[in-house]
């Protein structure tokens, strides 16, 4: 399955937040992942599981209270994890790796036209570019992505939510980044705008405007339709990674299974299904539980789960999961309810 070259490789990345009382919160705990060129990876999980922190950590651009601990981030073979923040900002962000934070569309400057913001973005990386060039470049990209060029001359308040979000995405790919990280890009939008955003991501991938995509959301049906692989995070750790189809229809980790239980799609038979919510809340990462971090909320918990440290197991197709039970034991347990 892996033929393309690896664009992003992360080895045992650990980052922590240091609170003002001096406590450490390990929000990303020994995370390793690989994304190949032309592939996309979805990251799923509840709020507070470290999805957004992982996205921030992947950029190699740390500012307090987030601190780098250990591990390596390789973009196209180049390690960016130990770099000076200023160099990261100038050389890496935007060109190598671009990041669309949550609610990015609300960050457009309301007092300036969209094109002024684009001029700022390009001039930081390409000093000396003239306004005329920048306008032409932006117009060409916007038209390619199906956005009207008139957007460039508008103020953000004149645009609808979906349009603002698509504008922000277009701006983020102006410098053709190798990796694009999108954090909940569609959760504040209605279904129709959401679909346009998704279509845009697909187009970006197909046209080769971005090398690979990391898509973070808690909406599994969306991930299933956008990304090749899905990675589930829980309490700062990866608990499962599989291709999209396997992750949705044949989840192995009890937590992924629980997430799949909360899917709502308008298809026949849904009304008779009772949504199964996972009881409880994720553990406090100031002092994470020893043993399996999901044990507290797991239906299939055994005394052993609470004491043994569980490592990621690898099974066929590069699929991994973090549970002490074997594949077959888990599948059997799910069949019996």
């Amino acid at each position: 399955m892996d033929m393309g070259k690896t664009i992003l490789e992360v080895n045992e990345l650990t980052t922590r937040y240091i609170t003002r009382f001096g406590e450490s919160v390990y929000a990303v705990d020994h995370v390793s992942l690989k994304v190949e060129e032309g592939k996309s990876l979805g990251i799923a999980g509840e709020s507070g599981c470290g999805k957004s922190t992982l996205a921030l950590s992947l950029m190699g651009y740390y500012f307090p209270p987030l601190h780098y601990m250990s591990g390596a981030i390789l973009i196209d073979g180049r390690n960016i994890s130990g770099m000076n923040p200023d160099d990261v900002r100038k050389l890496i962000l935007g060109k190598e790796i671009a990041y669309i934070p949550q609610a990015a569309m609300n960050a457009l400057n309301p007092t300036q036209k969209v094109i002024r913001f684009i001029e700022d973005v390009i001039q930081v990386h390409d000093y000396g570019a003239t306004k005329r060039d920048i306008y032409e470049r932006a117009r060409a990209l916007f038209e390619k992505l199906g956005l009207p060029a008139s957007v460039l001359e508008k103020y953000p308040v004149e645009l609808s939510g979906g349009m603002k979000q698509r504008t922000v995405i277009a701006i983020s790919v102006l410098l053709s980044p190798k990796v694009l990280i999108a954090d909940e890009p569609s959760s504040a939008l209605d279904v129709t705008s959401q679909k346009m955003v998704i279509k845009m991501f697909r187009q970006l991938m197909n046209d080769g405007l971005i090398g690979s995509l990391i898509f973070i959301t808690h909406e599994l049906p969306l991930l299933y339709n956008v990304t090749d692989d899905i990675m589930v995070m829980y309490a700062g750790q990866i608990v499962e990674r599989a291709n999209a189809k396997a992750a949705v229809f044949d989840p192995l980790h009890p937590y992924s299974k629980g997430l799949m239980g909360s899917i709502i799609v308008p298809e026949e038979g849904l009304r008779n299904v009772k949504l199964a919510a996972i009881p409880g809340v994720p553990p406090n990462l100031k002092n994470p539980p020893s043993g399996c971090r999901f044990a507290e909320r797991c239906k299939y918990v055994t005394p052993e789960c609470r004491v043994t440290t569980v490592n990621l197991r690898e099974i066929e197709d590069g699929r991994t999961y973090r549970c002490i039970f074997s594949e077959n034991e888990l599948r059997e347990a799910y069949q019996n309810g």
């Binding site: 509840e46 709020s47 507070g48 504040a188 705008s193 679909k195 909406e219 339709n225 629980g258 849904l270």
Partner: protein, 270 residues
């Protein structure tokens, strides 16, 4: 399922116009509806279709330009503050953004005590009030002992939304208007919140008016569905009828726009 045929809330020719002259916008355009007691009704439409304006009119938060609202068969009268408060005892709302629904200066105790007082519990003993608050919190899987003396902003989004439901539990209104109650919280808490709303419905038999853009959600929770486009209802009927056999092109498009997992998701339509 509660299915009495008493009309709880209805509207005739309800219209709302914002602005005037060149900027005149017809947000809600002569809509007629009748919501029955104990029913879960969904109003579905994309952004800008007038769902929230309709909700605001139903709650009495904005003036009605034209048309009438009837509450339990009688014309709704909220001309004075006293009458308005009386109406709000029976009509409550859960809003989209839990982070801005609370008064940041009030503690959670105050939030809940207000509800008890509003329901005529002003004279109850401290123990009785405490018991009621504990019951309300445990209904939504929160522990009152952990919440007391805290402020709402110390809670997570899902917890705040649950606290909102605890309020509704204490107030026991006839009508609950839920305006996108789950769009700002994650998929996992969403299931919990929906379950709680349904449980509340069967417990106190209220009418829930559910406003959403996600037709999947509407299908999961509601008995009847109204589809709204540009301020008008384009289709209405029972959930099965509307969502499994949609007639209007707009309904079909909305259904198409929700990401699917069991069938191919057609991206060419937008």
């Amino acid at each position: 399922m509660v299915k009495s045929k008493d009309v709880c809330l209805s509207g005739a020719g309800l219209t709302k116009v914002y602005g005037f002259g060149r900027t005149r916008t017809l947000a809600v355009d002569h809509v007629d509806f009748s919501f029955y007691e104990g029913e879960v009704v969904s109003i579905v439409g994309e952004s800008g279709s007038g769902k929230t304006t309709l909700a605001k009119m139903l709650l009495g938060l904005t003036n009605v330009t034209e048309g009438e609202i009837y509450f339990q068969g009688e014309k709704r009268d909220i001309s004075t503050q006293r009458k308005r408060r009386e109406y709000w005892k029976n009509t409550q709302a859960i809003f989209q953004d839990p982070f801005s629904s609370y008064n940041i200066f009030n503690k959670i105790d105050t939030v809940l005590l207000d509800c008890i007082n509003m329901r005529g519990g002003r004279g109850f003993s401290r123990e009785r009030k405490f018991e009621m608050m504990t019951e309300a919190c445990s209904f939504v899987n929160l522990k009152f002992e952990e919440l007391t003396n805290k402020y709402p902003f110390e809670l997570s989004g899902g917890q705040m939304q649950r606290l909102m439901i605890a309020r509704v539990f204490l107030l026991k209104p006839k009508i609950l208007l839920a305006d996108e109650p789950t769009s700002m919280i994650d998929a996992c808490s969403r299931a919990t919140i929906l379950d709680m709303l349904m449980q509340l419905r069967s417990e106190i038999g209220m009418t829930i008016i559910f406003i959403t853009h996600d037709i999947g959600l509407a299908y999961y929770v509601s008995d009847s569905v109204y589809i709204m486009e540009h301020g008008k209802f384009v289709e209405s009927g029972s959930a099965d009828q509307v969502i499994l056999h949609p007639k209007a092109a707009y309904t079909q498009r909305l259904i198409n726009d929700v990401p699917k997992i069991y069938e191919e998701w057609d991206l060419s339509t937008v």
